[in-house]
């Protein structure tokens, strides 16, 4: 069992969730309640990681973050570090390939809040920020938990993008999914099996939680006055 890889995966998943949650709340809310030109295009772009082969996504991220790219150069000038084959780059890639997993559940959750509920909050004197904090987020919490669970599980399991962008550097970019592949290559089926079982169990629990929450959220909406 490669505990370094497991720890790195958990660290990556944790930071991905921390960065994505506020972003997903902002974008999910915007997509739920605003109509604007190009909205369908934005939604399609966000959903792309669901259908694009991870290698394709990884390839474009590699191009976009490479040492010769604008972003790569800018980042290097700013921090003295490179984006590709580093944890920082892996985190950025992770945020991007998890966009649909974080945004879509929150968008659905915000869509389920009737406009009148928010209007009632404004009529009660609540500012937009107070309305978000005291009314919208408590009503969309199941969406937020789903977003976190999906993002966390998906980050642990992602292989293609990680390999393309991060490579296979011990304690920097070698996540548990890469380590499983490594162990199989080295004919160490015992280790590979153990780590696979851990991932399987974790993913099952996460998805189970998501389904349980969406079931509860449905009941809540059905019985909503």
């Amino acid at each position: 069992m490669d505990t370094t890889a497991l720890a790195l995966s958990l660290k990556l998943a944790f930071w991905t969730c921390i960065i994505l949650l506020p972003l997903a709340v902002f974008v999910g809310r915007l997509l739920a309640w605003r109509d604007f030109t190009g909205k369908a295009l934005v939604e399609a772009a966000i959903a792309l990681p669901l259908v694009l082969p991870p290698t394709v996504l990884g390839f474009y991220l590699l191009l976009g973050m490479g040492a010769t790219s604008t972003l790569g150069q800018y980042y290097h000038a700013l921090t003295g570090r490179h984006l590709v084959f580093s944890f920082d780059g892996l985190l950025l890639a992770s945020v991007i390939f998890n966009l649909p997993f974080a945004i879509q559940p929150l968008q659905r959750a915000f869509e389920a809040i009737p406009l009148q509920t928010r209007e009632a909050a404004w009529c009660c004197g609540l500012s937009p920020a107070q309305t978000l904090w005291r009314i919208e987020l408590p009503l969309a919490w199941s969406g937020a938990v789903s977003a976190l669970a999906l993002t966390f599980a998906h980050t642990l399991g992602e292989f293609g993008v990680v390999l393309m962008v991060g490579g296979n550097i011990e304690a920097e970019t070698k996540t548990i999914a890469i380590s499983i592949y490594d162990r199989v290559q080295a004919l160490d089926n015992h280790s590979a099996g153990l780590m696979s079982a851990v991932l399987l169990l974790f993913s099952l629990l996460s998805i189970g939680l998501v389904y349980r929450l969406s079931q509860r959220a449905r009941k809540h909406v059905q019985s909503r006055p």
Binding site: T117, C123, L126
Partner: protein, 369 residues
């Protein structure tokens, strides 16, 4: 108009046409009535700042909440309105008490709980403080919504079809509660409703709305009895609306005569239209008297008509009878009669009966432009 009242003027063509001027004194209850799409709810939402009309102004008391020409548009949060939504829009994750304390941010944190409980008691919900909306009945939810609307000590109370989501019995009860509650709050109240009976029984004044315009406003009895034209008459529920021509005015006898379906009808003197001009007229079913079928009487001389009973509609203790006139299946007049009289007169479908249209009950209206 008193200083603390509401005064507004709203104008726009698109997307929802509006062309209204409304004023409502403090303590006055105004009802906006009219069909769906007549702009009633849009007006209410404009007052609350939830809808932005293109031009006009809204003033409440000393404050100007909207004045397009001067670029004034106060936010909903700063308008201090109490709004009861059609389906109440309670916060489903908060208890009845928390729903109310949410609107008490103008008080110290320590004072909110006590004030919230006081308001719940005022709407007869003591003991239900911790209930979530999902565990309250329709009537209880409406009361929480009303208490929440009053919690901010609003400058105006806006009620959007507040009784439409409850059963008939609860509705009557809630309406009575509103009548009592009104005595203790001295602010303008604007009620939007489809239900004319509700509007007439609760409101001090009715505004009859159609396509964003006020067709008529006045005391409920006045609007119901004396609609300005046939459209208003239809909107306030009249069915006996007809067209005729003015024949003559006889000011000495205090009557006007109109020609209708080839016969003359006498109506109380109304000289607004000259002889020869077209006129619409309306009569409430209660002003049509059925002749006794067993023996004639003197009253039969007043505007007599004969017809055949085609339909009955039960309305409480009364029957509304649809009478087909002179075998013309396009000409109907309806009148009401109590069930007991209907039985005594052997009134049945197909029976031929005579009725008198009481001259005092006929109201003449200028034809619609």
């Amino acid at each position: 108009m008193s200083k603390a009242g509401l005064k507004l003027k709203l104008r726009q063509r698109q997307p929802i046409p509006l062309d209204v001027e409304i004023d409502c004194d403090s303590g006055e209850l105004l009802a906006l009535v009219g069909p769906s799409g007549s702009g009633k709810t849009t007006i209410l939402r404009s007052i609350a700042g939830l809808y932005q009309p293109h031009s006009g102004f809204i003033r409440c008391g000393e404050e100007t909440w909207l004045e397009r020409e001067r670029g004034i548009n106060v936010s909903t949060q700063d308008r201090r309105i109490g709004f009861v939504f059609q389906d109440y829009a309670l916060f489903p994750h908060l208890s009845a008490l928390q729903n109310i304390t949410t609107a008490l941010s103008h008080l110290d944190v320590a004072a909110r709980d006590a004030r919230g409980r006081e308001l719940l008691e005022q709407v007869n919900l003591k003991g239900l403080e911790q209930r979530l909306p999902v565990h309250l009945s329709g009537g209880q939810r409406q009361r929480v919504a009303l208490a929440r609307a009053l919690a901010r000590e609003p400058k105006i109370l806006l009620l959007d079809e507040p009784f439409s989501a409850v059963d008939q019995i609860t509705r009557r009860k809630l309406q009575q509660e509103l009548v009592v509650l009104r005595r203790s709050i001295d602010i303008p109240i604007v009620l939007v409703t489809h239900d004319l009976f509700e509007a007439a029984s609760l409101a001090d004044r009715l505004y009859v709305m159609h396509r964003g315009k006020t067709l008529q406003n006045g005391a409920p009895d006045e609007v119901l009895q004396y609609p300005r034209n046939a459209l208003v008459a239809r909107l306030v529920g009249h069915t006996n609306i007809f067209s005729a021509t003015i024949d003559a005015h006889d000011s000495r006898a205090g009557i006007s005569r109109i020609l209708w379906r080839g016969a003359a009808l006498e109506v109380k003197l109304d000289q607004r239209q000259a002889p020869g001009s077209a006129v619409d007229w309306v009569i409430h079913p209660a002003h049509i008297v059925m002749h006794r079928r067993d023996r004639p009487s003197l009253g039969e001389r007043e505007n007599p008509l004969r017809g055949v009973v085609r339909e009955f509609l039960k309305q409480g203790e009364s029957l509304v009878v649809n009478l087909e006139l002179d075998g013309d299946d396009a000409a109907f007049i309806s009148f009401s009669i109590n069930r007991h009289s209907a039985r005594r007169n052997n009134l049945e479908i197909g029976a031929e009966v005579g009725v008198s249209l009481l001259a005092d009950g006929i109201h003449l209206m200028a034809p619609e432009r």
